[in-house]
Amino acid sequence: MQTYTIRKDEIPKLVEALKEEYEVFGPMPKRTSYVFAPVTDPTKMNLDYDSTIMSPKKYYLPSSQTLMEVSLKNATIEDTVKDILDQKPKILFGVHSCDINGINFLNRVFDGKYDDPYFQAYKEITTVIGLNCLEPCKYGFCRAVNKNFVLDGYDLFLTEISDTHYYVHVGSPRGDRILTIAHEFFKEAKEEDGAAFTAALHKKHENLPVALHIDNIHETLDLAWDDAIWDELGEKCMNCGSCALVCPTCYCFDVQDEVDLSISKAERVRKWDTCLFYDFALVAGNHNFREDPPARLKYRFYHKFRGAIHDQGEIACTGCGRCIDACPAGISIKDVLFRLQEYWAASPTPQGGL
């Protein structure tokens, strides 16, 4: 595989060059944190960011999105997939492994027998430039959930190999397109660059914490179904849904028809929803299948670490740690996993071992 290097100080120029063909989004500073936002000033984009407030999920599954344009006058309904495909192509610059894994997870959800055309359209127009994390971030635990690396889902992938250079992997024809239109910034990697890349990966594995192992998480959760931990957390949880909003894998949505003031047209809108909200499982006749807050919180954990294995073949957590930062009640998914791990360790094992 051909690999390249690019000078760090040329990244702003690269972004400027790409802007002709693409709309570029990247980690931009916002007050004390970072957000994925349009890169208006490429010198402000900071690839040394630790984490962003929201995940790049919003570029594939917008928080609010018109699915259908409805004309009430003519009783017609038309989808908006073409509007997405007509947008200027997007580049997501500097997406960490956790978030690329998040996008891959969403892809598993929206793919399949019932293929979601909106998600696929966003995927079609979006180029992902990934970025290797060599330092741990404040709340992240990606290595504990095996999401500190990516196998696919990126178009270009950058790894810092020195104070001045990134090492560049090309992951798809879309990534190759960037090399074509901005070839002057990329140099073919030399042997010593390859050695520096290996050294960078060594550094990454030394740096990222691995105190938590969740190999047995599904069995642990089976055992912990009646544990008191769920009531305890449920009492603390405010059911605000912040964790689900910032989560790169939470995909649940609500669909509503919103009528225009003119009453001649309406929009069928898809909006983020979360299982923590009271009305998530409420049906006609006012029966609620998850009436109590602990039931909803427990459901969210079980979906993430148990149900997703049934459905998508992997857990729905990328270890990005955003929900820990976002939770106003101070519930930490990492601490919960630690406690569940203890539960597993304390559970009875056969006499004499295996």
Partner: protein, 285 residues
């Protein structure tokens, strides 16, 4: 058969042909697809549901209520229970709605062939079960004896009471027992009591009988106890469940039923579940 459009959320136009008031809150709606090709080729299984779309109001999941063998048309029995269904009840014959589907697994009717059939409905549960017993009546030679138990709290809430009453004479000749009962109605002239109290009148062989049920959880628990004690084969006991649904295709997450050892979408893996799923997945009923 699912007639797909490019967009899974896109709907087929359907025209309301007839509206028939069943009770104070429920009406039966007869629809036909506008596109003749869709009307000819649209197939479904008993127990499947559709997403009915009212432009400007939203979508609701509704069980199909008619026989899967009567093609070109389909019926939905809808209770006026919310914003969208209230609008549906204001529809007049000739009005257009949007339909997508059918979704869900439906009853595994091919497994029922050669067996007796017991349908037990309580309240609105009659809506999805009507598609099962009409299917069985349309394919009478594929089934043994058939028993239909229809219960409600009050006589005026008994769905399809007149239809079933009108069928009774022919039904008896065809070895179809029809039992209609109310639980709280002092003025009801017919049978009184819950479904379990009339099981002695069921004209089926427990050893060789498929059971389809729909009703509130309390009815399921009572019926399960009875059926298992009476020697019904648990592999042929099926219920159909209700959940909040938005997409109908396993994406939106609303109808998810999750526990320690199992994970199901009511829309994709259900809404019909077998006895084993019910006893092994707490929270299902």
């Amino acid at each position: 058969m699912l007639i797909t459009k490019d967009n899974i959320y896109d709907t087929h136009k359907c025209r309301l042909l007839r509206k028939y008031e069943l009770t104070e809150h429920e009406s039966l709606f007869l629809f036909r697809f506008e596109d003749p090709e869709v009307a000819q080729n649209w197939r479904y299984l008993p127990g499947q549901f559709v997403e009915l779309s009212m432009l400007g109001y939203g979508e609701v999941p509704i069980s199909i209520c008619s026989s899967a063998r009567r093609m070109g048309f389909f019926e939905l029995c809808i209770r006026n229970a919310g914003r969208v269904t209230d609008r549906i009840h204001k529809l007049q014959p000739g009005d257009i709605v949007g339909i997508r589907g059918p979704y869900g697994n439906g009853f595994p009717v091919d497994q029922f062939h050669g067996r007796d059939l017991l349908c037990v409905a309580a309240g609105l549960g009659m809506a999805p079960l009507r598609s099962v017993f009409l299917y069985a009546i349309d394919n009478r030679w594929l089934f043994g004896n058939i028993t239909i138990i229809n219960t409600a709290r009050y006589g005026k809430e008994l769905l399809f009471q007149k239809e079933l009453e009108a069928m009774k004479d022919i039904a008896t000749a065809e070895n179809i027992a029809i039992i209609q009962s109310t639980t709280r109605d002092p003025d009801w002239p017919g049978l009184k009591g819950r479904a379990t109290e009339h099981m002695d009148k069921a004209n089926v062989d427990p050893k060789n009988c498929a059971v389809a049920m729909c009703g509130p959880p309390a009815m399921y628990r009572g019926m399960f106890n009875y059926l298992v004690d009476a020697g019904y084969d648990p592999r042929y006991i099926f219920v159909t469940l209700e959940r909040r649904m938005k997409c109908g295709v396993g994406k939106c997450g609303h109808c998810n039923i999750g526990t320690a050892t199992s994970w199901k979408y009511a829309c994709k893996d259900g809404p019909v579940f077998d006895y084993y799923a019910i006893i092994s997945i707490p929270g299902l009923i």
